[in-house]
Point group: C2
Chain length 115, copies 2
């Protein structure tokens, strides 16, 4: 797992988690699974919990404890209004960056246009 991906995830991982919560409420373990399904297979569980603590402290999500049949109670996160604002801001920032980088790639004709 290249650490390059690790560095690139900085600043985007939080948005990714918010985007997943925008679809439906979920708890940590579930979000981790969801990420794996979506190809983010290199993201470790502990990292997700750290992100969730952060978004909770910043007030982007509402939290509800739900008992589960197995293991400790689930901590279900629901995106709230502030979180939706943050998510919108994330998409704006991402769009700007992605656009500029794609322009850069188009003018960069050296990188073995193989694939």
């Amino acid at each position: 797992m290249g650490n390059q991906m690790t560095e690139m995830l900085k600043g985007t991982l939080e948005g990714i988690v918010l985007a997943i919560l925008a679809r439906r409420s979920a708890y940590g373990y579930e979000i981790t699974a969801s990420l794996r399904d979506r190809g983010f297979s290199d993201i470790v569980e502990g990292t997700i919990y750290a992100v969730l603590v952060r978004v909770e402290q910043r007030g982007f999500v509402d939290v509800e404890k739900v008992p589960s049949e197995k293991g400790p109670p689930r901590k279900v996160f629901t995106l709230n209004a502030k979180g939706r604002d943050q998510l919108a801001e994330f998409w704006r920032t991402w769009s700007v960056l992605a656009e500029r980088i794609e322009e850069l790639r188009n003018t960069d004709n050296q990188h073995g246009e193989g694939a």
Copy 2:
């Protein structure tokens, strides 16, 4: 200047600089100007020098001191083979990440499709 962009630049800025050097050799001040031209107007000069120190230490660039008529001698950076490899790796990682995030955006139908 949202700090969101700041965080997102982590992990991409180095690749951006390498991509600029892939087009032609340049010195720090020039690279900063080039970035401004390309819309990365929020990146500060000092940051670029830090990136250049890093890529030099990692051996991605060759360095040549060229006297200038004004100010101290220019430190001209040229992308070498190792640097081109690193750039290729950057584009690969970026493609993977960008693709996954775009998929996530497509399945996220909540974020006011304003623009």
